[in-house]
Amino acid sequence: MRVPVTEADRRTPLHRAPAAFKLAGALGMVAGTALLPRRLDALYCAPAAVVVLAWLTCRMPLAYAGRRLLPVEPLILGVALLTLARPSGAPVFLSTVVKSHLCLLTMFLLTWTTPFPETLQVLRRLRVPAVMLTTLALMVRYLPVLAEETIRMQRARASRTFTRRRGAAWHNLAAIIGQLFVRTADRAERIYLAMCARGWK
């Protein structure tokens, strides 16, 4: 589901704030949250209040956060559930869940208020290794391309799939994932050549 975003949504003080300030703030928040005690107490109110305040200020749509939270939720719960295996693991379980959500929401607020190229520029100024920056930039650039390619493959398969059997659907999905992997490797090779053609070393 696409979240409708108007220009007015993007004209909040947090959107206008310098990217370096927002990045430093977000990293500080994540580090601070991670260092909180491994049981829920009043200290957790501080990062939670910051997140709520920032959320209200920048008017991030609920669906924007929800759509991004959903795929990582199983991972968070999986890790948190492991803590229950320990004796008196319940407080650790709760603190892991809350910490993870606070950190993720902080990063969603950063991505909502800061265009990715601005974040990259800040990282470049901070002298983050070029290979890491290029990898990040390529990932963001090619995610939509891969998504479009997946949709095209899905449609092509669907147009010649004449059964609604669950097995066929799984078979198609597996084939698409396999094909996508091969095509992505081919594309990566072509991208590398195109980069070399413009002087990349």
Partner: protein
């Protein structure tokens, strides 16, 4: 007139063993536009990759390609590569950055260009391809024609003396094709265009070579060569529609 590109005895075998190019020789003069034609699998794209030193995987000690008189070897690779601008067939392979500005700036940055000069260079290259003001746009939000123009701007930003274009008009609508053709016409320097768009070749190229099976099977002025219907059919091509209605003497 000086020679911009010279190829002598160029052969290339794919890593899996198939022969892609065999003892190929051709040259392009400064300011000349050469069309490279041939059926699928003839070796056109492989040839273009050699001009930029992207193939063979390890540059040979004995050169087969000369750009502006300079041999393409491991030692000269960087300098020669800068002089050859290569436009790839699929713009999505070439547009690698999150914004148009970053993408056009990619090549100059590799050459150490930064600051106000970089900004003015990017603006001027975007102006040259008719995309002034597109700096902050994301490549995946552009139309196919716009993507191609951004790719060309990124190539022009490296100030090449030779432009090498792989299927530059594929997937363009008629208007996009017309505009892109006019844009290519306006650019100075030597050009090599590998394409199946024969009308583009008739309009832009003064000379063509036909590749088949990795060899040059025909070479000559565009109109007489493309009018040879038997030759064209033999090599998986067709006499272009535009020549069917053209008087043989102009």
């Amino acid at each position: 007139m000086s020679v911009a590109v010279e190829i002598r005895s160029l052969s290339y075998r794919y890593p899996h063993g198939g022969l892609a190019l065999e003892n190929l020789a051709l040259s392009v003069n400064d300011g000349e536009c050469l069309g490279v034609l041939g059926p699928n699998g003839a070796g056109k794209s492989t040839l273009l990759l050699h001009l930029n030193g992207l193939l063979p995987e390890h540059p040979p000690k004995e050169p087969s390609v000369w750009i502006g008189g300079e041999p393409l070897t491991a030692k000269t690779l960087d300098a020669v590569r800068q002089r050859v601008g290569l436009l790839f067939q699929d713009p999505d392979d070439q547009l690698i950055s999150a914004t148009v500005f970053e993408d056009v700036a990619f090549g100059p940055r590799q050459l150490g260009v930064e600051g106000p000069y970089l900004r003015s260079l990017v603006a001027s290259c975007l102006g040259q391809v008719g995309l002034r003001g597109f700096e902050e746009r994301a490549p995946h939000h552009l139309s196919h024609g716009e993507k191609r123009r951004v790719c060309l701007a990124g190539v022009l930003a490296c100030k090449p003396t030779v432009l090498v274009l792989d299927e530059p008009t594929s997937d363009l609508d008629p208007r996009g094709r017309r505009e892109f053709k006019a844009l290519l016409q306006s650019l100075p320097g030597a050009k090599l265009i590998a394409t199946h768009d024969l009308e583009l070749v008739v309009d832009l190229c003064s000379r063509v070579v036909i590749l088949d099976g990795g060899k040059v099977v025909a070479e000559g002025p565009t109109v007489p060569l493309l009018s040879d219907e038997a030759l064209m059919l033999k090599h998986g091509l067709e006499k272009p529609h535009i020549l069917l209605h053209r008087h043989p003497h102009g």
